[in-house]
């Protein structure tokens, strides 16, 4: 068994921090990945008999663009997995075996953080509840990401990203008025939920480093989703106003504050799968509205009583949107955006993945999708840690680990077992 390629640590702000990562799918892996980007040693522990589901997620791409041969049976060629687990190390462990549990405890004793995203009760079923982990390591941070939380009547319920979006109100709050919910076309709370989980990790870590005290964070992703909708809760609690009303959700219009124009407008052409092109435009000031009238070659609109104030424009926004769309419809989307921006008007193309990677000069200059080489996939871009720290920046160190890649490092170098012992554990189905 090879020791695997180890990353180079030392420069990140979290250098010297070790995280045991039992997460899988999407929401879990994002949380420790942000720590790995910042220099922490994150050891992703997968099951011996079943790898992380994202490794097998062909939707995220196995039609390799690098020209390298694709091995259909390989668990190491998922783009989605590589994106979510870059900069991590990879090991496997059978937590249902007493020896596996003992190894987990030894690893936890040498680590700063444990993070997982199982449903409530799974860790306890292994004999690794918070009480036990705290005995092993009093300074430990344990962050559990679950859908519904570890307490309460529904704590046994299960959740995926769309579940969290639906029950929290996020799905309902996305759509055209009077129409079925559009919802979110991806698991927003798997990504933003992961970011919030990562914030829990570093916050508890900061506390532990100052006080020597460990912490257990029971992080409910649905509670995280609800906390993304706070003003709607307060509007109901204080004003009794429900979001189940004819004008909500408002599509891409703005209700608080009421603003017009504030919408998406069709442009010329279709994308690679035949969907129309769109550009968002908003005017928040009279100057912007006047500039838009001029841009559209319709200066008289600024004096038209239907559109002479923001309140009037809001009242007549169906007519207003039709006028603006008549202007945008024959134009290419980036042309609309650049004309508006040149006149100081808020605007933005509705960009898809292709647009952001290929045509967005800002993301390119800021290095948001840097390239990392991966031994099986080859060189591919990945989604980098977004904020830029001036003195200790995040770094792309390595691609996601191959399945079982770092078993020798973790059980040999870290836990002190010999190569023969690790090989025996592998033969016994324990690692």
């Amino acid at each position: 068994m090879e020791a695997g390629t180890l990353p180079t640590y030392g420069s990140g702000p979290l250098s010297g921090v070790r995280v045991v990562d039992f997460t899988w799918w999407v929401v879990g892996p994002w949380a420790p990945r942000l720590l790995a980007d910042l220099g922490a040693e994150v050891i992703k522990v997968e099951r011996v008999d079943q790898f992380d589901g994202t490794r097998g997620n062909s939707m995220l791409g196995r039609r390799a663009r690098s020209g390298r041969p694709v091995i259909r049976e390989s668990p190491n060629q998922s783009g989605g997995f590589n994106n979510l687990n870059a900069n991590k190390l990879g090991a496997t462990l059978n937590m249902r075996h007493p020896k596996g549990l003992e190894l987990a405890e030894r690893l936890i004793a040498k680590s700063d953080c444990v993070v997982e995203n199982f449903s409530a009760g799974v860790m306890e079923s292994w004999g690794l509840g918070w009480e036990r982990m705290r005995e092993i390591n009093p300074r430990l941070i344990y962050v559990s990401l679950s859908g519904w939380g570890h307490s309460g009547a529904w704590s046994g319920y299960r959740s995926y990203g769309p579940t969290a979006a639906a029950i929290s109100g996020l799905t309902y709050a996305s759509g055209l008025p009077g129409a079925e919910s559009a919802g979110w076309g991806f698991s927003y709370m798997d990504v933003q939920g992961g970011f919030l989980g990562s914030l829990a990790l570093v916050s508890a870590l900061y506390h532990a480093k100052r006080t020597g005290e460990g912490s257990f964070v029971d992080y409910s992703i649905i509670e995280g989703a609800m906390s993304m909708l706070g003003p709607y809760f307060l509007d109901f609690d204080v004003n009794g106003r429900k979001t189940r009303r004819p004008d909500f959700p408002p599509g891409n219009r703005s209700i608080f504050p009421p603003l017009a124009p504030h919408n998406t407008y069709r442009c010329t052409g279709q994308d690679a799968v035949g969907q129309d092109r769109w550009c968002f435009i908003a005017c928040e000031t009279e100057e912007q509205w006047g500039a838009l009238c001029h841009l559209m070659g319709r200066p008289e609109l600024a004096r038209d009583q239907r559109f002479s104030s923001n309140a009037a424009r809001v009242e007549h926004q169906d007519e207003l949107d039709a006028i603006i769309q008549a202007w945008t419809e024959p134009l290419p989307r980036y042309d609309v955006m650049s004309r508006c921006q040149s006149a100081g008007i808020i605007s933005g193309v509705v960009q898809n993945g292709e647009d952001r990677v290929e045509y967005d000069p800002q993301l390119r200059e800021r290095g948001v999708y840097p390239v990392i080489d991966h031994p099986e996939l080859g060189p591919y871009g990945y989604e980098a840690y977004a904020p830029k720290l001036s003195r200790t920046p995040a770094k792309a160190r390595r691609g996601a680990p191959l399945y079982k890649e770092h078993n020798m490092y973790v059980y040999g170098e870290l836990l002190g077992l010999s190569a023969d012992e690790v090989t025996q554990l592998q033969n016994d189905g324990i690692v």
């Binding site: 702000p13 579940t163 570093v202 609690d237 979001t243 193309v349 003195r391």
Partner: protein, 415 residues
């Protein structure tokens, strides 16, 4: 009440884009002083307002994002005002703002100047639309334009390719960038424990949103695939989805029926339920007991979703959710946000924190936030401040100013 950020002092230059950063730090126990212009933070003027009466002290959006902070009113465009902010930052651990560097240099509030004045200890975080460099640095944006440019809108909407894509409500770009901005700040705090030196965080909302779209970027980078929007479900790399996940139940409410894998156990329970309601149709065919066949039909066919629709036409939404969750199926009712106030589960977890908020007739039930912590709290610590409520107390306590000096600043228009 203790928190992870007890003892930290944060100065926040009021801006709707950065107020979630301050909220997260305040919820964790930091003292957050928001510096507002004389007219108040832009966040005070967006609404909704208490009883729909515009009032900078009665904006519910502002209340939510600023509960537990202090407010000091300073006109930083005046030399005296800018100088005051600089002196306040000298006492602080963290300075949060949303300005381009060029705008702060004339005020002596840029990082290089402030770092010198704080012996390098300061952590300064700037949350801007596009960051501090790049060809789009100076472009105009708002929360919805970031939903467009950053990608969430491109994946969300309806299956009809001629219908507009949709950006979800709730200022999500500011929430995402606020979360990542706070993450970078706390990571810099951890590093400062060792080095004793702070740093500058350049946080672009566009960058943050552009890593927040799950499959859209990997699908393009690895496979050259553009995603097709699907009503009420994930955008798909293989064109429009065959079936539907959001299904209307007997009581008229919609239920999300997502499941990544219909295991034999889940399928046995589903089938029993379908048969019980007499709506199993062809799904009783033994072929559906085969895992691969069932998974393929779930992904590529519509008959399972059609059976769900027949089932849900007979069963009310919450009854369906509870029964499905009872055997491990991840169904949930599509609720409006405020309907969560009705569920004992969230109250049992203490998710709603009642706060005596001046301007409200009764205590207001604020959402707590995402974390329940053993031995510490991460939740709103008090009401949102009135505009300038803490101007005198902050200047007196942190800068040692007496009444005459403060009156002088008032008369000069600096505060």
């Amino acid at each position: 009440m203790s928190g992870f950020f007890d003892g930290l002092l944060v100065i926040e230059l009021a801006d709707r884009r950065n107020q979630y950063v301050g909220k997260l730090l305040a919820d964790g126990g930091a003292r957050v002083i928001q510096v507002e212009p004389l007219s108040g933070s832009p966040g005070r003027h967006c609404g909704p307002f208490v009883h729909d009466r515009p009032d900078p002290n009665a904006c519910l959006d502002y209340w939510y994002y600023n509960a537990g902070k202090e407010s000091i009113r300073i006109d930083i465009t005046t030399p005296a005002g800018a100088q005051l902010v600089g002196r306040l930052v000298e006492t602080a651990d963290i300075f949060v703002e949303s300005q381009l560097k060029n705008a702060l240099i004339p005020l002596d509030l840029d990082y290089e100047t402030l770092a010198q004045r704080t012996a390098g200890k300061l952590i300064q975080a700037s949350l801007t639309d596009f960051g501090q460099n790049g060809p789009w640095r100076d472009l105009k944006a708002n929360d919805t334009s970031h939903m467009a440019l950053g990608g969430p809108m491109g994946s969300s909407g309806y299956s009809d390719p001629t219908v507009t894509p949709i950006g979800g409500q709730g200022h999500q770009p500011w929430n995402v960038a606020g979360t990542l901005g706070a993450h970078a700040i706390v990571s810099a705090l951890i590093e400062r424990l060792t080095s004793g030196i702070g740093q500058y965080v350049d946080c672009s909302i566009h960058d943050c949103m552009s890593i927040c779209t799950e499959g859209a970027i990997p699908a393009w980078i690895y496979s050259g695939q553009v995603l097709h929007r699907n009503t009420g479900q994930h955008a798909s790399a293989v064109g429009p989805a065959a079936g539907r996940l959001n299904i209307r139940a007997a009581d008229g409410r919609w239920v999300n029926t997502v499941a990544t894998q219909l295991t034999p156990y889940l399928w046995a329970n589903v089938l029993e339920w379908l048969i019980e309601q007499g709506v199993e149709g062809e799904l009783a065919d033994p072929r559906y007991l085969d895992d691969v066949y069932r998974a393929t039909r779930w992904r590529e066919g519509t008959e399972i979703q059609e059976a769900y629709a027949r089932l849900l036409a007979k069963v009310p939404s919450y009854e369906a959710m509870h029964r499905a969750q009872g055997f491990g199926l991840t169904w949930s009712v599509i609720q409006s946000p405020e309907e969560n106030y009705d569920h004992a589960h969230w109250h049992e977890r203490g998710f709603f924190t009642s706060i005596d908020q001046p301007g409200a007739q009764a205590p207001v039930r604020f959402p707590r936030g995402p974390y329940l912590i053993d031995g510490a709290q991460f939740q709103p610590r008090g009401p949102a401040p009135a505009l300038g409520e803490h101007t005198r107390s902050v200047l007196s306590e942190l800068l040692g100013m007496d009444g005459a000096s403060i009156r002088g600043l008032q008369e000069s228009g600096a505060i």
